[in-house]
Symmetry: C2
């Protein structure tokens, strides 16, 4: 694995890393239903607004969501909706594991 290759994999890993957090997955799924302001997301997540804001900044830097300032509010929108496909695969992994554990227990 040379430097060029490593950089390519690093770039992809950064995107996955941006999604690899329960709060951020929740936000992505919620944004898939339409735009939301920080205050709405904060309430849904149930954490400090500063914490949510940092998660949003991270997702934005990764290019997954975009922000739109309107007056004193900031609305976020999902930009790369294909990330939702990740979740269906993750679900498959979980289901396969559950099946295997059940089979092993039997």
């Amino acid at each position: 694995m040379n430097d060029r290759q490593r950089a390519r994999y690093q770039a992809r890993a950064d995107i996955l890393k941006a999604l690899a957090h329960p709060t951020r997955l929740f936000v992505v799924e919620e944004l898939s239903r339409g735009e939301r302001c920080v205050c709405e997301l904060t309430e849904m997540v149930g954490a400090d607004m500063s914490t949510v804001s940092k998660h949003l900044a991270l997702l934005k830097r990764a290019g997954i969501i975009v922000d739109d300032k309107r007056g004193s509010q900031v609305f976020y929108t999902l930009r790369m909706s294909c990330v939702l496909n990740f979740l269906s695969c993750a679900e498959k992994v979980l289901k396969a594991d559950a099946r295997d554990r059940a089979a092993a227990a039997r």
Copy 2:
């Protein structure tokens, strides 16, 4: 977000986290071409064998790959090949970013 929901998102996040590392992405892609033993992967990655072994253990625990001990060697195989779809989406994100940056610079 209640505890039950949080657990669901946590489980998904764990799978994404398992993939969110350049070395592990490389391994996954390599295994998509067929089974490989630890020594082969170690050489390709160019890191210590103990390091590679830990990455493999992590991917295995996440349910993404499976191992098959044969004599003194251990061969790993991709179990959830759908994770490859992740990469095509990651690529899309990167392309979109490159395009936007080019547009902004213009």
